[in-house]
């Protein structure tokens, strides 16, 4: 039972992939790393597992430096994105593999494998080969192989990304309930922000060179420190407008640089922005804070109303994505799928300006945290 510490970790090939990363994952914590593909999430896991050696830095598990240990001597278990099941062995033997490696007695192996198989509801399939089971069952087998090993750190590399939506949800629930995961340090890698928000005790958003922001789901979603974090979390992704701040009649407004759209700045934000002397910003507003206002509907004060033309309407079952043009700018809103909007239809959108984010146009830093 141990805490995982990463200190000043560096790894790169032609260019740095992970640069001076520091991270502590507590025992029992479910830490989710989320980020775009190719950013180095898997590399991070491979470094912890020992499949890659770091250029610099230390990996400390329960007070012991394991950076120089070969992978087979580290108390670490990992599931691979491809599952990496042994095709020539049965599901039973796949799960038993870590126990066979330790040369445990036959009875104990059988007992422990069956316990795990029952837990994951694959005990009916243990005689089959990996090629003869479904994607979800393969994933459970791979998970079983790591669970049975009783490691001190769990590394999970996109474990459910390649499954269909229904099974994905089912297995996501499984990660919430598995007791075994609550006793060790877990690092879970995904590119899907919903998975991250759902599962993570803490979430680390990974960008160029390492973790850009670490925090709870609420923190990273509601208080993104940078434009990158805000853009990466949320579906459909946040509206970003390249704006110039100016004062009109003593009120701060944001003028879109590529169109004639102007948006008022909420009082709370205006003070901070003035203090910071910002002028050129990226104005961010999430689609869920933009709503369609029906004809004759009363408009509450906090909403800034703009007239728009519908350019695209995508009904997606429980919600719909509405893209609209206003004064030359395109904005994305969430709407209900019940009312279908036609292309070219004129509508009014209400923007909840109090929910806006302001990022420095050059550094990407959030200016109104």
């Amino acid at each position: 039972m141990a805490q995982l510490q990463i200190e000043g970790l560096c790894k790169g090939w032609d260019f740095p992939v992970i640069d001076q990363m520091n991270l502590t994952v507590e025992e029992g914590e479910f830490f989710v790393v989320v980020g775009p593909s190719g950013i180095g999430k898997t590399t991070l896991l491979r470094l912890i597992a020992g499949l890659e050696s770091p250029n610099e830095g230390r990996i400390i598990l329960g007070g012991n430096d394991i950076s120089r240990l070969p992978p087979y001597k580290r108390p670490v278990a990992m599931t691979f994105e491809s599952y990496a099941l042994y095709p020539h062995l049965s599901v039973f033997e796949n799960i038993a593999s870590p126990l066979r490696a330790r040369r445990l007695p036959k009875r104990e192996i059988e007992q422990r494998v069956m316990d795990v198989a029952r837990l994951l509801k694959i005990d009916q399939l243990i005689t089959r080969r990996p090629a003869e089971v479904s994607g979800g069952q393969k994933q459970r087998t791979a998970l079983g192989r790591t669970l049975v090993a009783d490691p001190e750190v769990f590394l999970l590399d996109e474990p459910i990304s390649h499954l269909d939506a229904k099974i994905r949800h089912e297995l996501r629930a499984q990660f919430h309930t598995l007791e075994a995961l609550r006793r060790v340090a877990n690092i879970y890698v995904t590119h899907d922000y919903a998975e991250a928000l759902s599962l993570g005790d803490r979430i680390g958003v990974m960008g160029q060179g390492g973790l850009v922001q670490v925090g709870t789901a609420h923190e990273v979603f509601e208080k993104p420190q940078t434009l990158f974090v805000a853009e990466h979390l949320g579906q459909p992704s946040i509206n970003i407008l390249d704006c110039e701040l100016s004062t009109e009649d003593g009120v701060l407004i944001a003028c879109h640089r590529e169109s004639s759209l102007t948006l008022p700045v909420a009082q709370a934000h205006a003070q901070q922005l003035k203090r910071g002397n910002a002028s050129h910003v990226s104005y961010g507003i999430r689609p869920q804070y933009i709503t369609v206002i029906a004809d004759g509907e009363a408009v509450c004060d906090s909403l800034h109303v703009v007239d728009c033309t519908v350019s695209l309407f995508e009904p997606l079952g429980t919600y719909a994505i509405l893209m609209a043009e206003t004064a030359g700018a395109t904005i994305t809103a969430l709407s209900s799928p019940e009312h279908r909007y036609e292309q070219g239809e004129s509508i009014r959108l209400g923007i909840d300006t109090a929910e806006a984010f302001f990022f420095d146009a050059v550094t990407g830093k959030n200016l109104v945290l």
Partner: protein, 279 residues
């Protein structure tokens, strides 16, 4: 219209393949029937394509001679031992070249190993004889041929196994490391089983080479140990030229590779197409 066209092509192909089969099988057929002819019938100017009488006693004549049986058994021993060694060593070497190319010398090393098969064997015949004679004291034993054939089979085995290992997914090995297997144990537990079909075809190629080799066998062995290729000419040397018995012996000598090939054909096709179609 298209249907008729297709039928025509199919028929032509069938005829062509049929002819080809007959042409390629004819020597074996002729060998077989010659083996059971009497020597007088063999020496007739006009060949017969069906023996006047099947002389089953020819079988007895060939196999009552212990040296003929011994030759087949010696060849079997030499070919099998050599194949086992070549496949084992070739697998390890091929694995090293596939997984640790830099430490193992890289492409140059791999090519150098393969290049050992490129010179005409006869060029090293005498040096090899001298070397084996000096080191082993005598060359007329099983060991000399078992080792010597490695010169030809090791490069083949190493090179092919290297290709097969390159295609074996590396992630499985990494998963085995994380399960707690050391690299050597992971190799036997996970990697080797992935390349079994390829290994079978390599073994078959090595075995057939060793079974059929004549040049070096003729130089190195002959009295204590004889292999089938140098036993065969014995039937037609000297005063009596027993073509029928030579034919019968060689027909028997051809059987093991053919049977082996038929048994392992499934692996052979899979092995040689490994890396072409990934499943």
């Amino acid at each position: 219209m298209r249907d008729r066209h297709y039928k025509l092509v199919a028929t032509l192909m069938f005829v062509f393949l049929g002819l080809w089969t007959i042409i390629s099988l004819f020597p074996y057929y002729f060998q077989f029937i010659t083996g059971f002819k009497g020597i007088e019938e063999v020496n007739r100017i006009t060949p017969t394509f069906w023996p006047d009488e099947f002389l089953w006693s020819n079988l007895d004549l060939v196999f009552s001679d212990e040296t003929n049986v011994a030759a087949l058994l010696d060849t079997l021993l030499i070919a099998s031992a050599n194949t086992a060694l070549a496949v084992f060593l070739g697998s390890l070497a091929g694995y090293a070249l596939a997984r640790f190319p830099r430490q193992a010398g890289g492409e140059n090393m791999a090519f150098w190993i393969l290049s050992n098969r490129m010179f005409p064997p006869v060029a090293i015949l005498l040096p090899m004889f001298r070397a084996f004679d000096t080191v082993l004291g005598s060359t007329d034993n099983h060991l000399s041929l078992i080792i010597l054939y490695l010169v030809f089979n090791m490069p083949l085995a190493t090179w092919l196994m290297m290709v097969f290992f390159r295609d074996a997914p590396r992630e499985l090995e990494e998963a085995a490391y994380l399960d707690g297997y050391s690299p050597l144990r992971a190799f036997f537990k996970v990697t080797l089983p992935q390349v079994v079909p390829g290994m079978m075809s390599v073994a078959l190629l090595c075995w057939i080479f060793a079974w059929n080799e004549y040049l070096f066998a003729n130089m190195l062995v002959g009295s204590n140990v004889a292999v089938n290729t140098i036993q065969m000419p014995g039937f037609v040397q000297g005063a009596q030229k027993l073509w029928n018995l030579a034919a019968l012996f060689s027909f028997v000598a051809v059987l093991p590779p053919v049977i082996l090939f038929m048994v392992l054909r499934r692996y052979m096709v899979r092995g040689l197409s490994l890396g072409v179609v990934k499943g």
